[in-house]
């Protein structure tokens, strides 16, 4: 029975109301859509950024079954015959690989560094790959001069063509996505050199493999080895098990065999573990972004609540009539819930579409951060999967239903007699002391939760669950307590009420705030608190990073390869080039630094080799725990000593005096931690040893970075320009420019966070407008009375503006207090537990004052406009 009635109500009332007020329906759908869109866009951008960390070899081979690589550095080619012998006659293809980062050469002479475009160069054995071609290549020809390639005269076929291309000297293949018509040659930075390489053709597509990304380039293995100084070395070896009925069994056998033969010389991974490592590496970062994106949805949810609540107020008479005609509570409840679900479905659809569009922009911002902090990612577009679209729709419906439940309940419980009898004066709102108690209880609960440790994430990383729960408890608790501040504020301003009639009306409402008033204050308090809290975090971070770079960036010039731009990109400077750099007549001192990816306890961190004595003498360390004695600075005494970054110490729970075991080509090294230094440029963690030790272990004297201290009379810009002319492949930063670059990357990292916060505050201000609209509609009779008493439109609007000002001021006062607490929580609990960084606490008072003033001013303006609208509402007529 109730379902049929609900259907009738939905058709005759809900849909008709939506048709009669298409703009407000569209606004509601839009607001929810915005909330869903923020969540969807961040989700898509996150996935796209991580999925770009794909194994590039997949493009050529479909997908390898296993990969082996050295824990740090490279593998010798001598492992290949050893592996072939160990595998015997097993049907397994072995694919040796070298992977290198190259940058597009630029003819820039300015010292302002624009980020160069980087490419992944993959060196593969084209001969062995050609053997796979018949079964794996979808487009026939394999690494030949295909159509569209420069100099091509049609698709070459056959062994003769292949050998001709293969023996033609250094050349590379580019992807179809790189350019529709590839250029004849490309100038690329490799190490410190700019090389002009011939473009031989287009990378063929392997059957079942993803299309080659624009940034992938393929060379023959020996040619790339020679180009990047890795002759006789391999970055990894991949294995493909021949498909067939026993393939699964063979794979399991191969995995075990590789582990057994390796004896710790290499790590064995599968495509799944490879992808997981990218996911675990960035999990904390992505989780933080996802949580921030949910704030907009949370505030949007509140808006839906406000709007539906307002609709219940407007349609109360209709509901009362329906109730008096015998419609059951349940049918009215269901009809309102159906309305919520419909709004949710439409909002979800709009949100998915908007989210997909926004993701195309967000993916660049997320990608830049991932690139700077974690690994090279090249993604520029985010796709939408059916599951994600369904999630967006589901989220919209769930959020709308959650927000609509209370108004639906209120609608169902409308007492017909009370509503239809117009004599009943609406009672002013009353604060319940239980709410104050609950608010204080939540604040105390949050305080307790701050002390709980983080939750370990599967694989790697930690998630500050208790920290986020504490933030939530403070936000809700603070919101409830704020409801109690409104009457106090009205009381404090009572003198104004005695002087000005609109103030008397406004203050009388604030003295006894309704549930709507309290809810508006709570939402705005939440948005202001989070935005200002984030501003405190960013200021603290920036202040700390500024202090850190002031302390550690002491050299005059910093040099690295143009190709070494991302968190994991490796590009070495040759010894000869370094010798020429330090031999410049203006150079007084130099220090070299080698950064290598290191597999430590199953995750990738950084192994650094530094000229420790020089760095120490120049005061380039910011200490969290300084070394207790001088041993670590002396190469004769520091063979078994290491310094670690704070992020490493936090993540792996290692203190000064603890030991770490580092796998190297010279065997596993057990090192004692001598000190812990601050490093805000790497959240994966760093183990730093003296370069002399690293040289011994890896038999390689090249470095990834060089710092130069110039003689007093030398001009850094001039020296930089001279060196840059000599080494166009090197990125050379002056001290001033590097500081600016560090801060630029820093601000870019927080750019997306700010955008999310601003959306939250905007949505909350719109919420304030909706609240006042509902409140004024609810007080329509009062407006009629006030007009009859002689209030003009300006006075009516002023009363609303003052009421809005009261709500906004209370929310800002509470929100700014909350922001101090949240700022502390973000800095000392959430950041520390997520990233392991110690930050000093800095409050941007000017910024907070600006946020507060702009929210109050916007609140007053919006309320005045709503009040003006209310003043023009038609008078009630009774006949």
């Amino acid at each position: 029975m109730s379902v049929a009635v609900t259907r009738l109500l939905f058709r005759r009332f809900t849909l008709r109301h939506a048709k009669l007020a298409p703009r407000s329906t569209a606004l509601l759908v839009g607001i929810l859509g915005l909330g869903v869109a923020v969540f969807v866009s961040i989700r898509l951008a996150n996935r796209a950024a991580v999925s770009s960390f794909a194994n590039f070899t997949d493009v050529l081979t479909g997908q390898s079954d296993f990969t082996i690589q050295a824990p740090a550095g490279t593998l010798p080619e001598s492992v290949l015959p050893e592996l072939r012998a160990a595998l015997g006659a097993r049907p397994v293809d072995i694919i040796p690989l070298v992977e290198e980062t190259a940058a597009q050469a630029r003819l820039e002479t300015r010292s302002t560094p624009a980020r160069p475009v980087t490419y992944t160069l993959l060196g593969v054995d084209l001969i062995s790959l050609a053997n796979l071609a018949g079964e794996r290549s979808a487009d026939g020809g394999y690494f030949q001069q295909g159509p569209g390639a420069p100099g091509s005269r049609g698709a070459g076929k056959g062994a003769e063509e292949f050998w001709k291309v293969y023996t033609a000297g250094p050349q590379l293949w580019v992807s179809r996505a790189f350019a529709a018509v590839p250029p004849a040659t490309l100038d690329l930075v490799l190490g410190e050199n700019v090389r002009t390489l011939r473009v031989a053709g287009v990378i063929p597509t392997a059957r079942g493999a993803p299309p080659a990304p624009a940034t992938l380039m393929v060379l023959d293995l020996p040619q790339l080895q020679a180009l990047v100084g890795k002759v006789g070395r391999l970055d990894r070896v991949e294995f493909l098990v021949e498909s067939g009925p026993r393939a699964t069994e063979r794979r399991a056998e191969l995995g075990a065999l590789l582990e057994q033969v390796g004896h710790g010389r290499w790590t064995v991974s599968t495509p799944t573990t490879h992808r997981e490592s990218a996911e675990t590496m960035t999990r904390a970062f992505r989780l933080n972004l996802t949580i921030l994106s949910l704030i907009a949805l949370l505030v949007g949810l509140y808006l839906i609540f406000q709007a539906l609540d307002g609709a219940v107020v407007r349609r109360r008479t209709e509901i009362a009539i329906l109730r008096s005609l015998g419609v059951e509570e349940r049918s009215i409840l269901l009809a309102w819930l159906a309305e919520s679900a419909l709004i949710g479905l439409l909002g979800g659809a709009v949100g998915v579409l908007l989210g997909w569009i926004a993701a195309q922009f967000a993916v660049r911002a997320v990608g830049e951060t991932v690139n700077a902090l974690y690994f090279a990612t090249t993604v520029h577009a985010a796709g939408l999967r059916p599951g994600e679209a369904a999630l967006g729709l589901g989220l919209g419906v769930a959020a709308s239903l959650a927000a609509g439940w209370w108004p639906a309940r209120m609608a169902a419980r409308t007492a017909p007699a009370q509503v239809l009898s117009r004599a009943a004066a609406p009672a002013p709102g009353r604060s319940r002391s239980s709410e104050l108690g609950l608010g204080i209880g939540l604040i105390l609960l949050g305080t307790g939760l701050c002390r709980l440790p983080p939750v370990p994430l599967p694989g790697f990383g930690r998630f500050p669950l208790a920290g986020y729960a504490a933030a939530l408890a403070w936000i809700f608790g603070g919101g409830l307590v704020c409801g109690w501040i409104i009457p106090a504020l009205a009381h404090a301003a009572r003198a104004l009420g005695r002087r000005w009639a609109p103030a008397r009306i406004a203050l009388s409402h604030l003295r006894r705030p309704s549930g709507r008033h309290r809810l508006a204050v709570a939402a705005l308090h939440c948005a202001v608190g989070m935005a200002a809290g984030m501003a405190i975090l960013v200021t603290s971070f920036e202040q700390t990073v500024r202090g850190w770079i002031d302390h550690t960036l002491q050299a005059d010039l910093y040099i690295g390869s143009e190709a070494g731009a991302s968190g994991t990109a490796q590009s070495f400077i040759s010894v000869a080039a370094m010798d020429r750099l330090v031999a410049h007549p203006a150079v007084a001192a130099s220090a070299r630094l080698t950064l290598l990816p290191l597999n430590f306890e199953g995750v990738t961190i950084t192994l650094a080799g530094a000229d420790l004595a020089v760095q120490h003498r120049r005061g380039a360390f910011a200490w969290v725990r300084p070394p207790p004695d001088e041993a670590v600075w002396e190469p004769t005494r520091n063979a078994a000593l290491a310094l670690v970054s704070e992020a490493f110490a936090e993540r792996f729970h290692r203190a000064v005096g603890a030991t770490v075991r580092v796998a190297t080509p010279a065997g596993a090294q057990t090192l004692t931690i001598a000190g812990i230094f601050a490093d805000y440029g790497n959240e994966r963690g760093t183990i730093m040893v003296d370069r002399a030790q690293l040289r011994k272990w890896f038999a390689d004297d090249r470095a990834t970075h060089v710092s130069l201290w110039l003689k007093p009379a030398a001009d850094a810009e001039t020296v930089r320009a001279e060196l840059r002319r000599e080494f166009p492949g090197l990125a050379i930063y002056t001290n001033v420019k590097l500081r600016a670059e560090v801060l630029r990357i820093f601000r870019q990292t927080f750019g997306i966070t700010y955008a999310l916060e601003i959306i939250g505050v905007l949505v909350a201000v719109v919420g304030l407008a909706l609240t006042l609209t509902s409140v004024l509609l609810d007080r329509r009779e009062e407006l009629t009375t006030l007009r009859a008493l002689g209030f003009d439109r300006h006075e009516l609007a002023s009363a609303a503006a003052l009421e809005g000002a009261g709500i906004a001021t209370t929310a800002v006062a509470g929100g700014l207090t909350l922001s101090l607490a949240l700022g502390w929580l973000l800095i000392h609990v959430i950041n520390k537990q997520s990233f392991g960084w110690t930050l000093s606490f800095g409050v941007p008072w000017g910024q907070l004052a600006a946020v507060g003033a702009s929210v109050v001013a916007t609140g007053i303006l919006v309320s005045y406009v709503v009040g003006r609208w209310g003043a023009n509402l038609p008078a009630d007529r009774e006949e």
């Binding site: 117009r422 004599a423 004066a425 609406p426 009672a427 002013p428 005695r498 002087r499 000005w500 009639a501 008397r504 009306i505 009388s508 409402h509 003295r511 006894r512 009779e781 009062e782 009629t784 009375t785 006030l786 007009r787 009859a788 008493l789 002689g790 209030f791 003009d792 439109r793 300006h794 006075e795 008078a875 007529r877 009774e878 006949e879």
Partner: protein, 228 residues
């Protein structure tokens, strides 16, 4: 009831018509009310009583005709000027009291004085007098929700009279009260009008209330069918 001897016109309504869509609610209505005079507007529901009252108060605008209150042409005033006219010369009493629920009884009464920028000490004196006259001294700080129907209507009358308007517009002031309370309120209203010389237009269904006024006009389908 006898008309006051020296009645100065406070309200004149001349040929006022008003339609809502095709429906003509008022059709060339004319009347005049002098100071100290009370006029009852009667008629069945839908006859146009409240529409006429709304037009007089400037809450609604007539399609044709003129209305003057203290010689000010109501239909010629803009929204803000109408608000000033209401706050200065008109007091309104509603059937459902329409007290502001968040203001106390005293604050409700004080509000029109505040709108006229009456000084705080004078407001205090006049509110106290009004409360005293209405026998509401003990209920000064009570919110409307805490008052009985009769008390609420007495507060509403005090609020309508406290700024000494020239004209009171009362829409069924006893319609929501029991007969005893209704009679008391009417008595009080007429007493005050006699004391102050205010003109009263009373919309009512009640024969007793209509009979208590100096004159009576009966409206049917927007036209005057009986009366002057």
């Amino acid at each position: 009831m006898a008309l006051p001897s020296s009645s100065i016109p406070v309200l004149t309504v001349c040929g006022v018509s008003k339609s809502y869509g095709a429906r003509r609610v008022l059709d060339r209505v004319s009347l005049a009310v002098g100071s100290g005079e009370s006029l009852a507007l009667t008629g069945p529901s839908g006859s146009g009583k409240t529409t006429l009252l709304n037009c007089i108060g400037g809450v609604d605008r007539p399609d044709e005709g003129t209305i003057t209150v203290r010689e000010e042409p109501v239909q010629a005033l803009d929204s803000d000027a109408l608000a000033r006219l209401r706050r200065t010369h008109i007091g309104t009493i509603f059937q459902f009291f329409h007290l502001l629920p968040t203001l106390t009884a005293a604050e409700n009464i004080e509000l029109p004085l505040q709108l006229l920028d009456v000084s705080a000490p004078e407001r205090k004196v006049r509110v106290a007098k009004a409360l005293d006259r209405m026998r509401l001294q003990q209920r000064a700080d009570a919110l409307p929700g805490e008052l009985s129907g009769g008390e609420q209507q007495r507060v509403a009358i005090a609020r309508a009279l406290v700024h000494r308007p020239a004209l009171i517009l009362a829409d069924e002031p006893t319609g929501n009260l029991d007969s005893a309370n209704g009679a008391n309120i009417l008595g009080l209203l007429h007493e005050l009008i006699a004391e102050t010389g205010i003109a009263l237009v009373l919309v009512t269904h009640s024969e007793e209330a209509a009979a208590s006024c100096h004159r009576r006009i009966d409206l049917r389908d927007g036209r005057i069918v009986a009366g002057p």
